[in-house]
Symmetry: C2
Subunit: 110 residues, 2 copies
Amino acid sequence: MDKNHALDAFAALSQSTRLDVFRLLIKAGDTGMSAGDIGDTLGVRQNTMSANLGVLARSGLIRSMREGRSIRYFADMDGMRGLLAFLMEDCCGGRPELCQPVINELACAC
Amino acid sequence: MDKNHALDAFAALSQSTRLDVFRLLIKAGDTGMSAGDIGDTLGVRQNTMSANLGVLARSGLIRSMREGRSIRYFADMDGMRGLLAFLMEDCCGGRPELCQPVINELACAC
DNA sequence: TCCCTATATCAATACTTCTTGATATATGGA
DNA sequence: TCCATATATCAAGAAGTATTGATATAGGGA
């Protein structure tokens, strides 16, 4: 995770619809949701949703998998963890080993 | 932490200088840094830095304390933790008790 | 009080981003 | 092949944001 990547990720999360999408996908967990279902759930038009999903995907916070005619999206926990690690780098007086394990656990692989 | 607060925080972190400032303050830990020192370290003009510090402070990611003529800024770990908690709310199939303790530990009170 | 240092605010310009209607691409079924 | 569904792309107008020069406020020292 480099700085530009982190900036893209934070920009992705700083818009209302995209924040809703990410949190929805966090809740959906490994099941994920199709683009259409996400749009229906949040009441967002098709092309707007597509654009916003594209922004989130390019930022590394979500990933997608084609499934027939639909595309299923998932929260990308590796991306999320990488973002946190970047943000917290060198925290705690340059002793990141104190925080890093905590960050690593935040994978929600629960 | 409500949604608008979270949006403000992510918007704050989605700008290059502000991301630098926050990471610098994460490194600085409890010591913090004065506004002037932050500006000097990052090579940013006085009024630009003041505006950016204001954005970060209003978003709840940093806090400040006047110290004579200077103002010392600190990363606000409670704000950071609240943001993560909001983002990860209802993760892991609606069993947040699995993640919340991890998030709570991420206070970098190390 | 007067001045110096440290930080904040203001107004304007430049820049970026969001949304939308229209349209294109991709997949599956008949 | 032809059509229907699902998603993506494009161009343009609207809205929001960053930076800057100038200026204001706040605190400390003489």
